[in-house]
Symmetry: C2
């Protein structure tokens, strides 16, 4: 089409219009009250400055909040240890010493074991399924109810997508190969591995590579090809196992609840929309960068899948872990029940849609 | 934690701070220039008013734009045939008679055969993969370049997630069972089916059920359990086949390009963020409502998967269709090349992550 045609075409005779104005007048009023009042918030993260995907994701989120609000909402991002130590962001926000944080939900199971379920479940839901449970299956309401006891208000702040099972110095062919293995693996995945004979070890990120290289540990999980490549694990371990223990880890942008409630409706809407956009973008970025990094792994790396014997045992071990936690905590039991109800609803559909399609595609 | 503790806790000694202000001063300036000027846009859709998921999704998008902009951006949604006929929204927006539309990209292959690839590919990428190709693999740039020739600027405006293969009155066991079958199936999927001996039929939505019930057609595809249930297909056909031809159909919110370029940076950012949030929300809503509707299908309905023989033939037929289109159109060839490059990058990663995980999960 020529630009000239475009400019000279006359308007349609529109006739009588039945408008579906989706914008309500009362919303407009409540918004305008707060417009103009500038709000500055401090947000601390558990990642180094501009850390790929997670760190740059929260940078973009903050920048978006500024743009969307016409400059009235300024979120200052403080990388880990600048204002607050990486694993103190929960307490510091709870105490209103900062306004918000960006982190992984799996870090807070010491506060309440039920929180580990909001962070993701070994052998459980994928990112898309986790978010669907949160939004439509009651997960988010439960999360907010339990975080409210800490004066916190959580929003989904991204997801890593499916993670890999980890780097092993020796090939794993049978359950016996796992016995006594020292592996850096945290969370519920670590507890399952422990039941299979592994000795789960916790190490700060800066010490993992050296420990693996020197043989102080025999294996480590981290995230996926994109972030694992930066750690150099391929130089210290040859066998890279596919994932089972973190199929859909959820990250969070969590506010001090009193601070959240004092924000205008408009700023709340902006933050909510920006986190939703951020979550999709992070999943897509992880997919792309994992695919790229996988292509560029050294040739010596062998991609392996755990034998069925091990995964079957892991499923049994997981149920034992979940039963034990349910007996210890009413909260855990209640969140697990909601999670299981959604899983039961979701699985028949996923089996005949995504799973079936990926099999057909081959 | 007690509220009293929370209120009386003293602030941290924060010490010297190294701030990473992610908000740039120049952004703020450009935003404030346009603040206060109210913009009203007309957006027409190809769906009935408040049509489930797609229609309510665009309603929410419009409402969000109002909220995020503090009332300065008002998008009025016109359902199909109110202002513009359902399939005239492309031309009407191109001619600047309205400002924008919400529709499915697959409708416009008559304008340029390459557009069908942006709408989704039989046996191809899932929604998450399509969006990753768009954002990181060059798909969106190509889409915008080709739409610019029509004075249009497209944004991803949701996705249906994986669709079902359709409702059949008779069971399909061999390729021979497809010969001469009359099926309502549009797009590239229809062309593939044609090569397998099917007689693809186009019918307006209002006529599909009656045609199926009376046997004027033998089969029809539509979307998935949530929307198919509303059409009552289960009363007219017993065999419900799993999907292969629309694994990740992309919807669009597309603007008249001149109108888009005249919007302030802030309104562009608001619309972009709102479409990104909308896209995630729609995929999650489809997943949840499809799972619910599947559970509630009449017991007589039998879920079936096409035999491998048929899917193998469909893959060969698809390649023939794509080669033919590539010879006819440089645009089609170029978009297909970009799509194929991303597919080649993505598949090894998807095979060892999502696909492998769903197999392990069982």
């Amino acid at each position: 089409m020529q630009r000239r045609d475009f400019l000279t075409t006359s308007a349609l005779g529109l006739g009588a219009l039945s408008l579906t104005g989706c914008y309500k007048e009362e919303d407009k009023k409540s918004i305008n009250i707060n417009r103009g009042r500038k709000v500055a918030l401090k947000l601390a993260t558990s990642w180094p400055a501009h850390f790929p995907i997670m760190g740059t994701g929260v940078d973009d989120f903050a920048s978006q909040c500024g743009k969307l609000s016409g400059g009235s909402l300024e979120i200052k991002v403080y990388p880990k240890n600048i204002l607050v130590p990486a694993l103190q962001v929960f307490d510091t926000t709870s105490l209103a010493q900062i306004d918000a944080f960006h982190s992984g939900v799996y870090y807070w199971k010491g506060k309440n074991s039920a929180f580990s379920i909001f962070g993701g479940m070994p052998l459980g839901l994928t990112s898309e399924e986790m978010i669907t449970w949160m939004k439509f299956g009651g997960g988010l309401e439960l999360w907010r109810e339990l975080y409210a006891k800490f004066n916190l208000y959580p929003l989904i702040g991204g997801s890593t997508g499916p993670q890999m099972g980890g780097w092993f110095k020796k090939e794993i062919n049978t359950l016996a190969d796992l016995k006594g293995l020292k592996m850096r693996i945290p969370g519920l995945g670590g507890e399952v591995m422990k039941k299979l004979g592994v000795n789960p070890v916790l190490l700060p990120p800066g010490e993992i590579f050296t420990s693996l290289e020197r043989g102080t540990i025999d294996a480590t999980e981290w995230v996926g090809p994109a972030l694992d490549s930066m750690m150099g694990f391929a130089k210290a371990a040859q066998y890279y196992y596919t994932g089972w223990h973190e199929p859909g880890s959820i990250l969070e942008i969590t506010f001090n609840k009193n601070r959240w409630e004092k924000l205008s409706n408009e700023h709340q809407a902006i933050i909510t929309s920006a986190t939703e956009a951020m979550t999709g973008n992070m999943i897509h970025e992880f997919r792309y960068k994992n695919a790229k990094a996988l292509q560029e792994l050294p040739k010596e790396v062998q991609i392996k899948t755990f034998p069925k014997e091990i995964m079957d045992s892991a499923k049994i071990a997981l149920q034992e872990v979940l039963e034990k936690e349910s007996k210890k905590s009413e909260d855990f039991k209640r969140v697990l029940q909601s999670y299981n109800e959604f899983t039961a609803l979701n699985k028949p559909w996923d089996d005949i849609s995504t799973k079936n399609f990926l099999e057909i595609r081959g």
